[in-house]
């Protein structure tokens, strides 16, 4: 069952007197129980995508230009902010990048999870009982494998670590039983050990609840660890998308190839690290392939228009080298 389908989503930002195309014609689909990764560097638009889908973008300055966000069969892109509430929390739940400010510093951990439980109970038209809600909160904390759950529940956010905060967020997600979980770089601010623990917890939750997950990250390796499908984002556009094994082991788009090659291998002396030359600059990319300025395989055709997505062997690639098709 398809939980989320994004169809041709475009978002602009009004910035410094002009318009920046943060997202352009982005499409993806997430099934029940599927973890879909969106990989991109700074400025690729991945956070904008996450916020757009969860309808948390501040608008202004963000403006949605077109496309649909179909959640469980209904397009929520056009819904007015006042009508969106029914989807929040129990429909789409989001875990943010910076754990330290995600929780209200003046409320105990358990009260914030209880708040989430209250939302779910209200939506299901069930009565709210404080005692049983608190009990449920503690059991969720145990499910996300937080040590000393009863103790942590009584603490305030500033008394627990970043990794624990992210687990609390996941516990809240369990409390609300969303169909879609969006994780916007949830482990970027954490150390590697904590990171792998959080990822393990996430996989467990997905296995149990069958919710769909959109996992946004800049770290290809992390995405490779848990995602079933992946989309590589660059310059606001999906450059390559497909099953994880295809993307990691048969990368086609020169950007994807560059990303994979730039990950240092275990061998000690492999010589200088390969990097993709240059850096992302949004200026001057109108009407051409956004990766052209940095691409090692660039040709004249790359600048004749914006390349269209070509289906290749189970994946899609937005590159002239796989078919000279352009977007209208």
């Amino acid at each position: 069952m398809e939980v989320l389908r994004v169809d041709g989503l475009s978002v602009d930002y009004a910035a410094g007197g002009g318009m920046v195309h943060a997202l352009w014609n982005v499409s993806l689909s997430i099934q029940e129980g599927e973890i879909v990764g969106v990989v991109g560097e700074s400025g690729s638009g991945k956070s904008t995508l996450a916020l757009a889908i969860s309808r948390l973008l501040r608008s202004p300055p963000a403006i949605q230009r077109g496309g649909r966000i179909v959640f469980r069969g209904s397009d929520i892109a056009q819904l007015l902010p006042s009508k969106i509430d029914f989807v929040r929390g129990t429909g789409i739940f989001m875990v943010f990048q910076d754990p330290f400010l995600s929780l209200n510093p003046l409320m105990k951990v358990k009260d914030q999870i209880v708040e989430a439980i209250a939302v779910r109970l209200k939506r299901d038209s069930e009565p709210f009982n404080r005692k049983s809600a608190e009990g449920e909160a503690v059991s969720h904390l145990k499910t996300v494998r937080i040590g000393d759950a009863e103790d942590i529940a009584e603490r305030y956010p500033h008394q627990i670590s970043g990794g624990q905060i992210q687990r609390v967020m996941l516990a809240m997600a369990l409390a609300e039983r969303p169909q879609l979980l969006i994780a916007d770089e949830p482990t970027t601010a954490l150390d590697v050990t904590t990171q792998s623990q959080i990822l393990a917890v996430l996989k467990d939750i997905v296995g149990e609840t069958r919710m769909g997950v959109l996992y946004v990250t800049h770290d290809l390796a992390v995405a490779g660890m848990i995602c079933d499908q992946m989309a590589v984002l660059y310059g606001g556009m999906v450059q390559e998308a497909g099953p994880t094994s295809k993307i990691l082991f048969e990368p086609k788009h020169p950007y994807t190839v560059g990303l994979i090659n730039s990950v240092p291998s275990k061998a000690k002396a492999e010589g200088p690290l390969t990097a993709i030359r240059g850096s992302f600059n949004p200026v001057g990319l109108e009407g051409i392939c956004s990766f052209a300025p940095r691409c090692p395989l660039v040709r004249d055709e790359c600048r004749k228009g914006v390349p269209a997505q070509n289906p290749v062997n189970g994946a899609v690639v937005r590159c002239i080298n796989y078919g000279e098709n352009y977007e209208p």
């Binding site: 929040r88 129990t90 989001m94 995600s102 510093p105 008394q159």
Partner: protein, 338 residues
Amino acid sequence: MGLLGFAIRRAIYSVLLVIGAVVLVFLLTRVAAPNPASLWAGPRAPPSVIHAVALEYHLDQPLYVQLLYYLEEVFTFNFGISPFFKQPIASLVSLYFPRTLELSFFAMVLTVIIGVVSGAFGAAHQDKKGDYAVRGIYLVSWSMPPFLVALLLQFVFAYQWSLLPSSLLADPTMLPPKVVTGFPLIDSLIAGDFAFTASALSHLVLPALALALISFGLITRITRSSMLESLKSDYVRTAMMKGVGTRRSVYVHALKNSLLPVITVIALTFSYVIAGAVVVEEIFGYEGMGYLITQAVYNYDYPTLIGSTIVIVVAVVIINFVADILYAVVDPRIRLGD
């Protein structure tokens, strides 16, 4: 360590601050004139009286001895005799200060309510007409000298419209209640004299309002900027994401956090209110500390002025202490240490 340890540290600091302030006042009184005795004896005092006063205040002793006597007197609540009122200053203070405290209390309540509501309103309507209206109003009221505000209120509400009494503590034809605590409102409640309570309350309205109008601006500013910060914060975004709803996100999550800076400003505002009371009490004929101070100034009653100053400083330090404790109670990051 927790709250108790924090409170004890704060209390010690407050006591040290009071001692420091008393020493400062002491130095002030000894450093000015070549013959401080004449300051303490009051104007037009004959030489024999001046001499007697010099002995009484130990002015023949070395400075540090005088300081010790002074500290002892202050801490035993003995400020000497007022040359003008011809009574112990301590009893004057016990009569007049509670009245000012009552007035200040009501003024502070009004100030905080007006300030927080207008600040939240301004934040909710940021950069729109409502916001500009709020900023315009507090700019004007903040710029008005206390006597102007008091006179205007008196003019409109007491003289033009005869809505509220123009002066005094309470209806002068009523007998004041028996003194138990020294606070007129509380004493009248204890005595069951509700007519007096009502009268006293109605006489408090205009002066308290005058004080509130000149002081609320700071609280409005702090609340507004604090709300704007909170509304943009990540935890408000988390609350919205959870489906908690706009109303609860703003009034439970954002507002609670926004009130923290307001607490720190309350102590400062109390300082303004006490200072403003000196003028406002004069205009409304409200016989409190302001009355005592203005009388002391007009009649060159130096000891009463100094005694009043010390009492007021102690009150301000206590309020600061209470505000610090309140802040620690409300903010778990301070209370539990990080």
